[in-house]
Amino acid sequence: MTETQIVDAVSAEAAGVDIERVRQFLYREARLLDSGELREWLTLFTGDGLYWVPIDEDQPPERCASLVRDDGPARDERVYHLLETPFPAQSPPSRTVHVVANVEATRSAEQIVATSSQVVYEMRTGDFTQVGLGVVRQLVGQVTHTLVEQGSELKIARKKILLIDRDMPQGNLTFII
């Protein structure tokens, strides 16, 4: 263990957070996304949970468009769209690997706030001789999970992804970031 890790583990423990449990939760989420188990991914959220990828997090979402701002029905629709209705932007589909790092967490009486750094490697499959297919792209961002306890399980009340290029030109983001 490096000195930093020790300090982080100590401060997480001091804050009453089981940091390993949080890490395992985030790793599991990443695995579900990368293996296409999207229905299972939906169950990680609370009923009124929010999945949010802002362009400008300081602007009110009522007046500023987000890259993604999905409540429960919209998340359900996104997953239905990906799994059951073929569409050009995912034909052929993307493969992804979500890499989760730099996990820290704090806890209050009601919730755990976990921050992490995330790199998503994404690639469209298909005829790699065609422009845009077979090219690995990276999406880099900071993620904040607001987690709550439901029974013995952690659930996501809010997931916010701040891409470093959120207000820059984007390519195809029709997979789950």
Partner: protein, 435 residues
């Protein structure tokens, strides 16, 4: 970042661009090279983006003196800046000394622009106000021909807040240039009791690996929706307006959508603008039921024209402006096969907040890079460009609905809703200006 992937093989590069559009008795075809040739692209930059009225900004982006944004006219970087007198200036973003850009930010407010290279200073109107270390034997002599300032684009004008510029001092009057498109713009802006829109949201910016004209053609294409957006129609069937559509889209099944896409009419104007105009009964009903006060206000202002004001009216304004739903869209050519599209959702000033929010959510659901509609269009543009690598096939066919097309009073063409009248308008204009 996307890179240009041009084939070095270009057997048609010597044919004149005007020959790349085949117009004849019931025929209308466009040559592959019009989309792929680097020479054609270079000529477009000179003969289209340096002569026509190019859309640059909306006045709400520059509310106060000193406010500026940077953008492009074709490949040329420009600064759009509001001067002390409130007048909008458009200047080339290039120091007249040794050529560096003088502004590196996309938008902001500035008292002056200073070149980072040798410190030459320009006012909000582009006038050169200071040459650093000017005097002495190291500096500039008494006979130095000092430039006036940044090169100013000679024609700048606006229509209802939409700011355009042209590098051609002889360009026609902007209203004349816009022609029938002014009626569509009027209708859109008249959804506001005070006749104004306002850009508040950050825009969506996307890049795609395809020619800019695919974006210009597709925004007014009534034919593609049931194919490219077949999955979206299924989402509509399953989710309706529960996930944010705001009763914007009509079809909840293939047959409903097909029927809707053949409803309405289309136009092509003399200056290459394509219009597609359709009724939008569910929007009218929504406004009537959910926003009764607003509805009364609009009805008092527009009477029987209200259905048109709230219609689903779409424009592709040559060469780089799109207006659809509650958004201003602009496409920027970067290379023959690389284009950047910027979508600015707008608010209708004076409409209820919930109305503007509803529209924002609806457009977020369809148009963002993670949305359920626009990414499919962009994917198709890349597919088009990829397919055109098969350049031993000469022509693309744009003859849909040509038999039902007729020329009207002022020389505009009128066609049916899912024909290719708007696209033919673009290409007639293109043929004319590229000659």
């Amino acid at each position: 970042m996307l890179e240009a992937h041009q084939s070095p093989v270009d057997q048609h590069r010597r044919s004149a661009p005007r020959d790349l559009v085949m117009v004849g008795d019931g025929r209308f075809r466009v040559h592959t090279q019009a989309y792929v040739s680097p020479e054609v692209f270079a000529q477009e930059m000179r003969q289209i983006f340096s002569t026509q009225w190019v859309y640059l900004a909306h006045s709400s982006e520059l509310p106060a003196p000193g406010d500026y944004k940077t953008t492009h006219m074709g490949l040329q970087p420009v600064i759009v800046s509001r001067g002390d007198d409130g007048v909008v200036n458009v200047m080339l973003n290039r120091c007249v000394h040794r050529g560096a850009v003088v502004c590196r930010d996309q938008r902001g407010s500035a008292n002056f622009f200073r070149c980072p290279y040798h410190g030459w200073v320009y006012g909000r109107d582009g006038k050169l106000t200071g040459v650093s270390m000017r005097g002495g034997d190291n500096g500039y002599g008494a006979d130095f021909e000092q430039p006036d300032g940044l090169k100013v684009v000679p024609r700048v004008d606006s229509y209802r807040g939409l700011i355009f510029a042209s590098m051609d001092p002889e360009a026609p009057d902007l209203r004349e240039y816009l022609g029938r498109a002014t009626e569509l713009i009027d209708g859109k802006l008249d959804q506001s009791p005070v006749g104004e829109i306002r850009l508040v949201s950050q825009p969506y910016v996307s890049r795609y690996q395809g020619n800019w004209k695919f974006a210009a053609e597709n925004i007014v294409d009534g034919y593609h929706f049931t194919f490219v957006h077949a999955a979206f129609i299924k989402l509509q069937g399953k989710y309706g307006s529960t996930t944010g559509d705001f009763h914007v889209h009509q079809g909840h099944s293939q047959s409903e959508e097909r029927k809707y896409r053949t409803t309405g009419q289309s136009f092509a104007t003399r200056h290459g603008h394509g219009l597609n105009m359709k009724p939008n009964p569910t929007q009218v009903q929504l406004v009537e039921e959910a926003f009764p006060e607003y509805h009364l206000q609009l009805q008092a202002q527009h009477g029987e024209d209200l259905a048109t004001v709230l219609g689903s009216n779409t424009a592709s304004i040559f060469p780089n402006l799109g207006i659809i739903h509650h958004q201003i869209r602009t496409w920027r050519p970067i290379a023959p096969d690389v284009t950047e599209v910027t979508i600015y959702p707008y608010e209708v000033v004076g409409a209820p907040d919930e109305f503007n929010q509803g529209w924002l959510r609806s457009q977020e659901r369809f148009y963002g890079p993670a949305g359920h509609g626009m990414p499919d269009d962009v994917e198709i543009f890349a597919l088009n460009q990829q397919g055109l690598a098969a350049d031993s096939v000469d022509w693309l066919i744009l003859e849909r609905g040509i038999g039902a097309e007729k020329q009207v009073d002022n020389g505009d063409y009128q066609g049916l809703a899912s024909g290719e009248t708007p696209q033919r308008g673009l290409w007639r204009k293109w043929k004319q200006v590229m000659a």
